[in-house]
Every structure is written in structure tokens, then in C-alpha cells.
Amino acid sequence: MTIIHTDRLHREFTVGTRLRRRRVTAVADVTLTVEPGDAVGFLGPNGAGKSTTIKMLTGVLVPTSGWARVCGLDPVRQRRELARRIGVVFGQRSQLWWDLPLVESFDLHGAIHRVPSARFRERLDECVQLLDMAPFLATPVRQLSLGQRMRGEVTAALLHSPRLLVLDEPTIGLDLASKERLRGFLSTVNARGDVTLLLTTHDLPDVERLCRRVIVIDRGRVLVDDELSTLRARFAGNRALVVELTEPIPPLLGLPGVVDVSVQAQGLRQRLEFTQAVNAAELIAAVAARAPLRDVAIAEPSIEDLVRALYATEDSPAR
Amino acid sequence: MLAPYPQLVRAGYRRHASYWQASLGGVTANVVFGLLRGAILIAVLAQRGSVAGYDTAVAVTYVWLGQGLIGVVLLWGDTELSQRIRTGDVVIDLSRPWNLQAAMLATDLGRAGHAIGARLLPPMAFGALFFPLRWPEHPITWILIAAAVPLAVTVSFSIRFLLNASAFWLLDARGALAVWGATSGVLGGLVLPLSWYPSWARAVLAWTPFPALFQFPIDVFTERGDAFTLITKQLVWAALLLAAGQVVLARGTRRLVVQGG
């Protein structure tokens, strides 16, 4: 069964004061399908319509027009039924009980979703072990670090064995180690094939690590819906080496794998965009051989770069 | 460069100007309560004609002015200082080059200024439209009431400040604020005119700041008693309570510095 199926899903909002009202389109005719076991990254800049789409898919918000089925259900009309089959994690709002020990929040989630005791124990034990939560199970949620809390949030969302796990900015604000631990866990869970992942993020490494498929949305429209590997080959993934020089020199053209060179500060700073195929260390060595370096920095590609690249490409598939 | 306080008054005003829904809702609630309370007083006066100098006109004026003053004088819901003490944010406030109490008073007066337009005048207008209010006979009363209301706000503020500052020691001022919220209305003459109370109760209340909150400004407006005496009493209470607040703030600050919150 298809997990998510939408047809021209559309949402408008009325904004502004009473005097000057106007309609704004947040999500414009989004049509997509997600199959079981898939891991989909849902990307786009701030205000692109990601959260609005997720709200419509989870039954929190009614579409202005269009149609959606999630796990075969109408999200708004069968909200409670749907809630039994999906798990949702919001990076910035908590589903845990603030002043209770973490483990009691888990108990309550088990009770809310009527998870049979045996299965609940098994599921919880597995999460506790994989996410290394034993040391803080008895700690009240308000005393947890953000990383610990997020591990709790993800566990709570998985206790009832949902078919779909929706994660809205799950790694926002986490330190690198916490991010990595969470990504590892999610990919393990997804790899077993019984949970479909839909995740929004600003963090491209999240996508690299977790998603096989990427949907890029901007201004409410789907710009790209493709396999990550295809996408990586076509667009972004380009990193940039920013070199600071001790004296101005002409543009550093002709280095292998460098696709674009831009010169700033009268030639004292140059930005070399290079493909994934290039080893950054070798590139730095090559630059150092040609110019006196004062400092180097490597810029990872951002979602915004990706979107810009998509717009810049003539043949970009508008949906 | 001006002292920050006039700007704080303006900021207090503007901050509340954006909550028009709340003002509208507050006025609705105050009008409903005015109607209910007025009905009780009118029912009493229908039997007696006049009680302790209150005829129907004075009684409804008392009710509607009182309903308007609730939002200006403010008895409930001021927990900002105690919460900032509890969270430790008060350290930021104390490190600024101002007198914290004066700054908060300025903000509160600005809030009250907004409330005069948004919360006092509408119930008064409603009362004037449907009831025979007793308007001041002497023009000077308008000037006196213009002094009595800000003084009532100042007395209310300085008590709220003291109660909130108790959080320096108790950490949780909720209980103290709840008791104040429950008692100040009845002790200040908002619920029923204090002159209707038994004489012993009046004698006790005369030694407290509570009548300065509602009964005094309403008495000034309805021209009962000597307005100058009433305003002088308000002034004395405001000065005493503000001074007490300064002492408590200094002690609380020292405690914070010594114990590190």
C-alpha cells in the first residue's frame, strides 16, 4: 500500500491586518507518492511550505483544495485512526511530559497508543539500547539536554510501531555527535523496512545519511522529486574552497574538478567551487603550489545553494 | 540625554496598545460584572432608599467607576518580577543603570495610561448611557481625580512590587500573590462600598493602604469626604510603600549577590 499519496494538495492563508488582507499560497498543487520503506528528504528554504505540507499530511491542517491519503486514510477526517499508524517528531515542540521522568512519558505513550505490554517492552528496550538512553531514563524531561530529549522524542514516536515516521527538523540545534547518533539510529530503523521516513531538514548531511529520495520544495511548489544519487550527480553536492591569499593574484583557473572561480577582495580572496569527485586536501595542495596561502575554509553546500542551482538550471523539472 | 523613565512610560503604553482583543474582552467582562453588581446594589437601595449616603445615582457611579478602575489599578496577573527572580533573569534587570523599582513603576504607569482609554472609559460610557450616573458638581474634582487615579495605581504597584519581591526569599511568590488577588478587592472597596461595612471593619481598614486603591478615587469622584485628605493619604501610602520596596529590593539584591541566586 502506498504510504503517502497526494493529488494537487493546495493550501492558502489569509494574512495581514483587517485593513489589508491578502491571500498567500503556502503549498501549491503538490502531487507526490511515497511507497513503504522509503526514506524521503523533504527540503526547501524557510517558508517554502514544508511544515504546512506536513501539517496537512498529519491531519493538523485542512487543505484548501486537493486531496491526500496517508496510510490509506483521510488525514483530517480520520485523524485519530491515522495517529495510531504514524509517529511525528517536531524538533521544536515536545510530545513528552515536561516534569515527568523520561520513562514515564514512554509509559504514557504506550498507554495512549494501546501498545501491548510485551511489544512495548521489546520496542522500548531496543530503543534504549540503540540510543544509549539508560543513564537518563529516570531524569525528568526538563533536565535533559537537547540531544537527550530528541532521542526521547524519536523513541516516543516509534513505540507504537508506526508505518510512517515524520520528522520535522529533528537535528536542529543538536551538536555533531548527537546528530550522528540520531542519524545512525534512524537509518537502522529504516533499513529494516517497516518504517517509512519523511524528514524535513536544513542539514544536508541528514539527507546524505538518511534519504534515498529527495523532494525539494520552494514557494509551495515541488522543484525536484528524484533519487538522491541522481540529484547529487546533477546539481549540488558542490563544495567550495575559500582561500585567503597574502597577495592578490589572477583567478586560479584550470585546477582539476573546479567548476567555478569567483574573485573577491581584489584577488585576495578566491572562491573555488569543486565537485564531489575532488579530494579537498589535494585541491588545497594544488592551490598552495600556485599561490601563497594565508587561510583556507571549506563551505559545505546548503539547501539554499541547492535551490539556487535548481532555479539556475534551465531544464529543471517544474514538478 | 533624557532619563529613561519617560520612555519607559511610553513603552508601557505601547506594549499594551497591541492587545486590543484582550482590552475588548476585559471591557466585556467588566461590563457584565458591572451589570450584575449594579443589580444587587439597586435591589438593596430599592428597599432602603439610601444606605450610608449611597443613593441609586451614587451607587451606580460607584459600580461603573469601580469596574473601569479594575483594569487601571490592576490587582491580578502581575507576576513578571517574581518570575524573573525565579528564573534568574532579574540579574539582567539589576545590572542596568537604572533604579529597577522606578523603571517598573514607569512602565506600570504607562500601562495604566493605556488602560484609562481602553478599560476605564468604555465601562464608564456604558454606565453613563444606561444608568443615571452622578457626575462631579465642582470642576476642580476633575483635576483631583486626575491625581487620585495615578496615585491609586502607584499604591497598587508598590504593593505588587513588594509581593513579587518576596520571591527573593520564597522563590515562589504565587501563594502571596494569590492571597492578595483574593483579598484586595474586598478590602479596597471594589466589591462593596467600605462605608457599608461594620464600624470595626472600617476602623481597621482605615489603617491600611487598601482603601487608597478603589474607595478613595471613587470617593473623590463622587465628592464624598474631603478630597485633599484622601489624596494626601494616598500620597503618604505611596511614599511609604515605595520606600519599603527600595529597602526590600536592596536586601534582595544583596541576597542574590551573596548566594548567587
Binding site: T58, R84, I112, R114 | G25, A43, A178, V179
Partner: protein, 276 residues
């Protein structure tokens, strides 16, 4: 459609709400000193309303055709009912906060009724202070009045506070549903909730015709204390309303709950229609 995971019944399932509540109560009692003071404030707050009635009766011998003890009976019924109501549903006042912080979305994402979740998210235990005061006053007036007890009157005395609590609780929820439409609508809701509490504490005969229609019948405050009191006192209605009304509160309570459910559903639909 794929098969659902089998839903088995085990003891833990049926007890979601009590478990959430128990956890909240524990946290309320975590600071016993502050909690005790809160309860005391509730007792004082409730007692002061009684004080107002007593002050009025220092000036007159009857109010709206009722003696002081009779008015105190109405007050006792109203206070107990309001105390119970607010004890159970005060949490609804947090609705604007839930909407603003997005916490209401989290509730929509659980397979439970949103209203049930919101109401059971906490219990205003301190309001027991009000219930206690109300019960004490009610007990005092019932014994002082030397009523002519019949089984029906005993039944009315036992059920009136509960039925009144249901009516006031439903009103409380219905009024606060306004927060779905007006995020700062809390104070407007107060005119219905606390206004009803005040209105029901006095005989409805003191109000003018319009105020009575609005605060006693449109908002069914008259059925909280006034009509049950008439039933207990066994005296004719000074307003000449039919005697059957004094036994109608349970019906009115059922109606009020039904209407409130509809209003709540409309509120949630509106929320889902606009987003936060």
C-alpha cells in the same frame, strides 16, 4: 488497506487519563508550602464572596424576596458547583498557550480526543479550597434552614452541586473555545465563566429582565442554584415560573454539554482550517 496491529486490551490501556492526571497531581504537590498557600487563597477568595452577601444583609433583611439564610443556601450550591467545575476544567484556560506554542498540534497527533487530552492535562487541585468552602456553607445553610426533608429533596440536595458543576464546567469550556478564534479572547470568556459564577450566587429575582434572560437562561445559570434552592425550600417562585423548572437542571446540564461538544468541534475545525 493493510491490517492494523492487533489492539489488545491490557490494564495499562484503560488508564491513560488517570495516569496523566496522577503525574500532574504529584508535580502540584511537589511544593507543599506553596500549594497550601494556594489552597488557602482559594478558601479566602470563596469566603470573601460570602462576606459580600453578609455585608449586604447588614443593610437589608431580604434580597430579591429571599432571607439571608436562603441566599446563603443558593450561594453554597453555586460555590460548590463552581468549585467542582473549575477544579476539573480550568485547564481549558491554557488553550491559547497550547495553540501559540504548537502544543495543540501535538494533541491532534495523538489518537485521543483533543478535549479529553486538554482537560486531563492537569487538575486544578488548589480549587478544592473552593469546593470545601462551598460544602461547608451548604451544610451550614441546609441545617440552619430546618427544611422539610423528603426523598426528592434529599436527592436534589445531593445532586444539585454535581449537576450545577456539569453546567458550569460546560459553560467554562464553551466560553474558552473562543480562543480558537481570538487568541487574546480569555478575558472575554471570563464574562461568561466568572460572570456565571457571580450571577448564580444570588437569587435571579434581583436582576432586571434582560440581564436575567441573558445570565440565567441563555447562559443557564438559574439552573445551578436558584431552581434547586426553590426545590429544597419548597416555596413558590416569586417570578411565577412553572414548578417543573426546579427539577429540570439535569436535562439542562445534558443540553449544555451537547452544545458545548458542538462548539468545541467547530473550534477544532476552525483551527484545522486556519492553522496557527
Amino acid at each position: 488497506m493493510a491490517e492494523l496491529p492487533p489492539v489488545e486490551s491490557s490494564p495499562r490501556h484503560r488508564s491513560v487519563y488517570p495516569r496523566i492526571l496522577a503525574s500532574r497531581l504529584r508535580s502540584q504537590l511537589a511544593y507543599p508550602g506553596s500549594f497550601a498557600l494556594d489552597v488557602v487563597a482559594q478558601i479566602i477568595g470563596q469566603a470573601i464572596e460570602l462576606l459580600g452577601i453578609l455585608v449586604v444583609f447588614t443593610q437589608v433583611r431580604s434580597l430579591g424576596g429571599f432571607s439571608s439564610t436562603e441566599v446563603v443556601l443558593m450561594y453554597g450550591l453555586a460555590a460548590t458547583a463552581f468549585g467542582l467545575a473549575i477544579l476539573c476544567v480550568e485547564q481549558i484556560e491554557k488553550l491559547p498557550e497550547y495553540v501559540r506554542t504548537g502544543q495543540f498540534d501535538v494533541m491532534l497527533l495523538r489518537p485521543l480526543s483533543t478535549l479529553a487530552q486538554l482537560l486531563t492535562a492537569d487538575l486544578a487541585l488548589k480549587r478544592l479550597g473552593r469546593v470545601g468552602t462551598g460544602l461547608a456553607v451548604l451544610g451550614w445553610s441546609l441545617t440552619t434552614l430546618q427544611l422539610d426533608w423528603t426523598p426528592v429533596r434529599a436527592l436534589v440536595a445531593a445532586t444539585a452541586p454535581l449537576v450545577g458543576a456539569v453546567i458550569l464546567a460546560a459553560l467554562f469550556v464553551a466560553a474558552n473555545t473562543v480562543s480558537f478564534w481570538l487568541i487574546d479572547g480569555q478575558e472575554a470568556a471570563n464574562s461568561v465563566t466568572y460572570g456565571s459564577n457571580f450571577a448564580t450566587s444570588y437569587p435571579i429575582t434581583v436582576y432586571g429582565p434582560w440581564l436575567r434572560r441573558l445570565m440565567c437562561f441563555v447562559l443557564p445559570g438559574a439552573f445551578v442554584a436558584y431552581f434547586p434552592a426553590l426545590a429544597l425550600l419548597g416555596r413558590p417562585d416569586p417570578l411565577g415560573l412553572p414548578d417543573a423548572l426546579r427539577y429540570s437542571p439535569p436535562l439542562v446540564a445534558a443540553l449544555t454539554v451537547a452544545l458545548t461538544t458542538l462548539i468545541w468541534r467547530a473550534g477544532v475545525r476552525h483551527y484545522q482550517g486556519t492553522g496557527s
